[in-house]
Amino acid sequence: MFLPSVLAASSFVEVRPGLIFWTIVTFVLVMLVLRAKAWGPILSLVEEREKQISNAIESAKRERAEAEKLLADQKTAIAEARREAAEMMRRNTAEMEKFRDELMAKSRKEAEELKLSARREIDDQKAKAIAEVRAMAVDLAMDVASKLINERMDDSKHRQLAEQFVQGLPGATSATATRRSA
């Protein structure tokens, strides 16, 4: 059996104080060198990168929100413009319509008035003509009558008689009334 002798001779469990010392010295030196030359730069670089990434994400979010806001603004502006244009169009059409209506009404009224005055004129002239015709008829009748009976008649008496006679003629009522009122 060599196991006991192996364990007895084993020097791997022997602790050398010198080696502990050198380990600590080496470790501290390595740490100082690496902290100055490697960890510092690497860690600051990593932090810088992380900051940049988070900044980029943040700004992208912000820009996107801004763009969305702008887009919404644009959309509302376009809708507003469209609505205004439609409104204006509508108003224009209405105005035109109104204007045309007014024009039409005015011209119609004028034509009416013209027609009315013309008719009145015609009526007047007609009444006048009728009256004249009547008067002429009376005179004629009186002349005819005087000639017929050959007798000088009291003027007013006979005239009244003639008028009565004319009154009896068909369609003379209105003319007589007109005359009477005149």
Binding site: F12, P17, I20, W22, V30, L34, A38, G40, V46
Partner: protein, 351 residues
């Protein structure tokens, strides 16, 4: 530790087998035993520290020894005079620390440690991304380094210590991680050795963590809070019990760190050596068909273990520092009434 058990089981089985063989074939007794002793001696010689570095010439039994400088600092006059070996061995030995002689000799593992440190510093300076103008690392090595750095920072430092205090200890944890990793990996190259397979080296590293942990505790809680924490937050009449327990607790953590790293690294190397040594112990080249693939598997496992052990050491360091930092916050909260010390101890003992 599991691997250490496997190792000793192997050694034991080997020795039983050797004695059985000896019983059956009496003539082979001396020879076999000598062979076994030889292999075991060779393995132990290789994994343990020595005062010279042996450069083995491949395919021969020769090696070129390079004697490393021996440095002795006597604490008093004539303390370092060599004396005769008290164990009855031949030659002279130097007196130890107890006799007033500080042995600062450069040994094989010291050299390996320095080599690992130089390779670490060199590769970090050459391959890491330190150019301010390029925020994104380029190339495999720079990416790998940055990935590991970020892993140590985010997963170890910030998770265990906290967002506020964590970044302060990141340089320490990074150095510990990479230094241990490079020492572990160096042992996997031919002619090299793992300095972390030496208990003195791991003890030194654990002492660094111990120091940082205590400083972190004092920083977080103040000297008064730190001392109060040593009392465990119990009633004063319990202090005579509590203070020794807490004081012992301070040292169990670095002790666990020391033994874990040392045993893991040492055991892996011994298992590889033993698997290869089996060829010579059994004196049959056919054994190589089995033991070489096995040794290769263990080698790959070692590669993995090199990373895992660096991670575990760093993670536990971060955990201990985190517990010390938390000391400052907890004592203000729940004073002495309840078991104020319970917050850290449960966590520490799980690992």
């Amino acid at each position: 530790m599991r691997k250490a058990m496997v190792l000793f089981a192997c050694l034991f089985a080997g020795s039983v087998w050797a004695s059985d063989q000896a019983g059956e074939h009496g003539y082979a007794n001396e020879d076999k035993d000598a062979e076994g002793e030889d292999v075991a001696g060779y393995i132990l010689h290789h994994v343990s520290d020595s005062n010279e570095y042996e450069f083995e010439i491949p395919l021969s039994n020769n090696h070129i020894p390079i004697h490393l400088p021996r440095i002795f600092i006597p604490l008093h006059e004539g303390a370092c005079a060599p004396v005769a070996d008290p164990h009855g061995g031949h030659g002279e030995v130097y007196p130890g620390l107890g006799a007033g002689c500080v042995d600062l000799s450069i040994t094989k593992h010291t050299v390996m440690m320095w080599l690992a440190a130089l390779i670490l510093i060199g590769s970090l300076l050459i391959w890491s991304n330190r150019d301010k103008t390029k925020l994104v690392p380029r190339g495999t090595a720079a990416n790998l380094f940055e990935m590991l750095v970020l892993f140590v920072r985010d997963e170890l430092a910030i998770k265990n210590i906290g967002k506020e205090e964590g970044p302060r200890y990141v340089p320490y944890l990074l150095t510990a991680f990479f230094f241990i990793l490079f020492m572990n990996l160096l042992g996997l190259f031919p002619w090299m050795a793992s300095a972390t397979g030496n208990i003195a080296v791991t003890c030194g590293l654990a002492l660094c963590t111990f120091f940082v942990t205590q400083v972190a505790g004092i920083r977080a809680a103040g000297v008064g809070g730190y001392l109060k924490h040593l009392t465990g937050g119990v009633a004063p009449w319990l202090w005579p019990i509590m203070i020794p327990v807490e004081f012992l607790g301070l040292f169990t953590k670095p002790f666990a760190l020391t033994i874990r790293l040392f045993a893991n690294m040492l055991a892996g190397h011994i298992v590889i050596f033993f698997l290869l040594g089996l060829i010579f112990m059994l004196r049959n080249p056919a054994v190589a068909l089995v033991s070489v693939p096995f040794a290769f598997g263990i080698y790959l496992l070692e590669l993995f273990v090199a990373f895992v052990q660096a991670y575990v050491f760093t993670m536990l360091s971060a955990l201990f520092i985190g517990m010390s930092v938390a000391m400052g916050h907890h004592h203000d909260d729940h004073g002495h009434a309840e078991g104020g010390a319970s917050h850290d101890h449960g966590k520490a003992h799980h690992i």
